[in-house]
Symmetry: C2
Subunit: 247 residues, 2 copies
């Protein structure tokens, strides 16, 4: 029998990419605050992440959760990230431990560490550079969205330590479809191709861990982030490299 996985924020870019690659491998339960178009091929539970009754029902019987729901805008206001990202993640973690969910995979973000790039030593050729980052460093959010993601990581740490649930925080790079963004060096350095994204979340669901923070990007030549821990912990083996797409 296939594993039951709850995917929150299922209609966003990351959610659709995961579904397009892994639709047959798991029994998906999809949650989103928007209704899908009529041609969307799966059932969706349409409910706000702050609707605890709906969230508790959606979690019931799932063995894993991939939590993507939240305001994804890097310019999101404090009011919005407080509600949608901070409160939403707490409600879902609480539902997960109450329901006996085994794995909680949290979509964190490169923006949780975006201000490392404003460090005066940030040039990777500088021996005092903080780069490449590998997930063991303290957060330095680049915006309030990033601060809300760093807080989700901390809440995951607490729920793991307190209740034993396995929690994996993936600092996702730049999902931009089948080719990296053009004329945007930062996006190229943290590009995550669609197929690498699908493979990555499959590994997140299959691997064993207690609590971890890892980076989720393709095997780009120009990366701010180390993939060593993602490879070692998850068996992640990316196939794409933004340098091969850029002339």
């Amino acid at each position: 029998m296939k594993e039951v996985v709850l995917l929150t924020g299922a209609l966003g870019n990351v959610g659709r990419t995961i579904l397009s690659h892994l639709h047959d491998q798991y029994t998906w339960r999809l949650l989103d605050n928007q209704s899908p178009d009529s041609d969307f091929p799966y059932d969706v539970i349409v409910a706000d992440i702050l609707n605890t009754t709906a969230v508790n029902e959606a979690v019931e019987g799932a063995s894993a959760i991939i939590h993507l729901a939240g305001d994804p805008q890097t310019s999101a206001s404090w009011k919005s990230v407080l509600r949608n990202n901070i409160e939403g993640t707490q409600i879902l973690l609480e539902a997960a431990v109450n329901s006996g969910v085994e794995k909680f995979i949290f979509a964190s973000s490169n923006h949780a560490v975006g201000h490392y790039e404003s460090d005066p030593n940030s040039d990777p050729s500088n021996p005092n550079s903080p780069f490449p980052l590998d997930g063991t460093e303290l957060p330095r959010p680049g915006n309030l969205y990033g601060a809300s993601k760093a807080f989700g990581e901390i809440m995951g740490r607490y729920y793991h330590d307190e209740y034993g649930i396995s929690v994996l925080c993936v600092r996702i790079g730049n999902l931009n479809g089948d080719a990296p963004p053009v004329d945007y060096a930062r996006g190229q350095s943290m590009w995550l191709s669609n197929r690498d994204c699908g493979h990555l979340f499959d590994r997140c669901l299959q691997a064993h861990y207690g609590y971890e923070i890892v980076y989720g990007v393709s095997d780009n030549d120009s990366s701010y982030y180390s993939l060593d821990r993602t490879r070692d912990l998850l068996g992640y083996s990316p196939q794409d490299n933004s340098a091969e797409h850029i002339s």
Copy 2:
């Protein structure tokens, strides 16, 4: 002319200790959500930390803030820490940068790292022990109160990186008056005596820093925490040691 310092949560234990030691050295502006007793010798602005109008007025003209306000209970509910600690700290940081405050001293807590003590390697004699902690490690909150304090540290990081305000996060130990707690080894290991507390916050106001996380405890023999960075960064020189009080 004396420096104007805003002290939030002024009527709590830490606030009263700071005032008792440093009353003459600064021009204090006190904020609390409770009214003081009639014999309290200072004026207090009685307002909730979520009252942005009152908070903006309290911040105006201050060059530094010591932010103690919040729910201090280790058993505090999520609802309470979300409101009083998370929202409250954001409102105050926002007011501080809008008003040009130079230094923001944030009362963090040993509970931001309380779950290191549940680490299977936590015995300090184990070479893989995470102890002594020194403020460069990732948070591991021991309760939701501790999670809210860890989030305050992250928000301080963001406001420093984004706006340049100096932010110091002090993970305060166990303030228990003139003697350490009896029959409570954890409290003895992280005791902060009254006079060391007064001296510590004086150093926080006098020293220069960008963004830092340090521990605030006395010079206890049995400490989970390193004071090296507190001494080096702030010139902190504690006088008390819980071992000298315990037979």
